[in-house]
């Protein structure tokens, strides 16, 4: 990130190649539209390029910072899109991780992380998982989730808190210092 902040295009290219696939997959799951997701991806990386000097490693991991930008922009775009225009686009295997811009190592890292996250998500309850996904992928507040699921707000708060804390524990056990510094 320091190199990117210093306007090192090669470093920026590596950063793009490493995380663009995970960002795009993530945003595609939010937007359900490939063209929109690709467009937002470009905006996300432009913002990264512009604001890399503001990234502070003491405030969190680079991937967290990148995914936070991606999520925020994807959810903002989602609100702008007319729901009628949104079509659920199936993500085919040909669109999957194997791309010209991703290296095999990046693919493996992404897949490895994906497997770890999937395993960790399986370690929490279905309802906890549902609450976390609704918050993270749809940007719903605890109140909105409570309304949607027709559950008491307190239940949702407990479920969300316990779910994320347990997920943290499970991921920390797998990823060690990467997640639990």
């Amino acid at each position: 990130m320091r190199c990117v902040a210093a306007r090192d295009e090669a470093a920026f290219g590596k950063l793009y190649d490493r995380y663009a696939a995970i960002c795009l997959g993530f945003m595609l799951r939010i937007l359900h539209n490939r063209a929109e997701a690709e467009d937002v991806l470009q905006e996300v990386y432009l913002q990264i390029w512009q604001q890399a000097s503001n990234y502070d490693i003491a405030r969190g991991r680079a991937i967290t910072w990148i995914l936070t930008i991606a999520r925020s922009r994807a959810l903002d775009r989602l609100r702008k899109i007319d729901v009628r225009d949104r079509t659920v686009t199936a993500v085919t295997h040909e669109q999957s991780i194997r791309g010209a811009n991703t290296t095999a190592i990046d693919d493996c890292l992404n897949l490895e992380n994906a497997e770890i996250v999937h395993a960790a998500l399986n370690g929490i309850s279905e309802k906890q998982r549902q609450t976390l996904i609704l918050a993270y992928y749809e940007g719903l507040t605890q109140t909105q989730i409570a309304e949607r699921l027709d559950e008491p707000l307190g239940t949702i708060k407990t479920r969300m808190r316990n779910g994320l804390l347990k997920l943290h524990g499970l991921l920390a056990a797998k990823l060690g210092n990467e997640i639990n510094r």
Partner: protein, 307 residues
């Protein structure tokens, strides 16, 4: 982390980490971190990192090459930011209105230099639009050029085929001509050889009443049983007919070879004389069936004796 934190504090960490903190919750969390120090900040980071890992539950999707290319074109073009265009300005107004009408559930990250972002995006969009127009024009031009080149290539291919065909014809003609010349030379050589041979016989054949203008010269070598005949002014043989030479020995005609003539009546024959023809002293030519005859069926058109 500070051991005094409560479930309510954890809840603030969680909603912040998941990006669904309301403005009030965000303020509360900021106040908590300020109050409780690094332990709370670290806790907030840890849970934010955990929440970010949820993105990995989505299937990674490789972006298109064009996205990367456009991105790098944009960052290269981004060195001199442009002002807002009307479209982007409208977008900005709409964004503001939307935010005011329906507050975002997503906690907005502090975005330093945010005032430069619309310019960046406008420029990117403008650059993209101009690039798209330029690409379209270029594509049309390329299509035109490709079509013209295809037409030219097609015409050239036809022309090449014609040239190749003509070349093949010319080569065949040349080969035929060379073969004809070679045959001519061989005949000349044989004629010279036959003429020079001491035991050769010569006969001048004259046209009969059927073809009074016709004439022929014959060289016959009984030792080698070879004969050569050159005719002139013979009427062209009708369809299915040919001229046949007869070697007359002891008053008996022995069948020789067949030949035809060109439109001028010129014809030639290299013949292997039949057995018993070494005694021949007279010769005749008749018009016979094209397959030949064992005995003369037609009327003689040429006849003569050896000198």
């Amino acid at each position: 982390m500070n051991a005094t934190h409560t479930e309510e504090h954890d809840n603030l960490f969680v909603v912040e980490a998941l990006g669904v903190a309301t403005a009030d919750e965000a303020r509360q969390l900021d106040a908590l971190i300020t109050t409780h120090g690094d332990g709370y900040a670290a806790r907030s980071r840890e849970l934010s990192d955990t929440a970010a890992m949820l993105a990995f539950s989505a299937m990674p999707v490789a972006p298109q090459q064009e996205t990367r290319a456009r991105l790098f074109a944009a960052i290269n073009a981004n060195q001199s930011p442009t002002s807002l265009d009307e479209d982007a300005a409208q977008d900005a107004v709409e964004d503001t209105s939307a935010t005011q009408a329906q507050p975002s559930n997503v906690y907005q990250l502090p975005v330093p230099k945010v005032t430069s972002m619309p310019g960046i995006l406008v420029m990117r969009r403008s650059t993209f639009t101009m690039s798209a127009i330029a690409a379209s024009v270029l594509m049309i031009a390329l299509a035109g050029v490709a079509f013209a080149m295809w037409r030219r290539a097609d015409a050239a291919q036809v022309q090449l085929a014609q040239v190749q065909n003509q070349a093949r014809i010319n080569v065949a003609r040349e080969a035929d001509e060379a073969k004809r010349i070679a045959n001519e030379l061989m005949r000349e050589r044989e004629a010279t050889s036959a003429f020079a041979a001491p035991d050769s016989r010569f006969a001048k054949l004259k046209g009969t009443a059927t073809a009074p203008a016709a004439r022929a010269n014959l060289i016959f070598n009984p030792r080698t049983n070879s004969a050569m005949l050159y005719s002139h002014a013979l009427p062209p043989a009708p369809e299915g007919k040919a001229y046949q030479i007869w070697y007359i020995a002891d008053g008996k005609p022995l069948p020789g070879g067949l030949f035809t003539t060109n439109n001028e009546g010129d014809g030639s024959l290299r013949d292997v004389a039949p057995s018993g023809s070494d005694a021949a002293s007279a010769f005749a030519v008749t018009l016979e069936d094209a397959l030949g005859a064992l005995e003369p069926q037609g009327t003689p058109v040429l006849s003569g004796v050896a000198s």
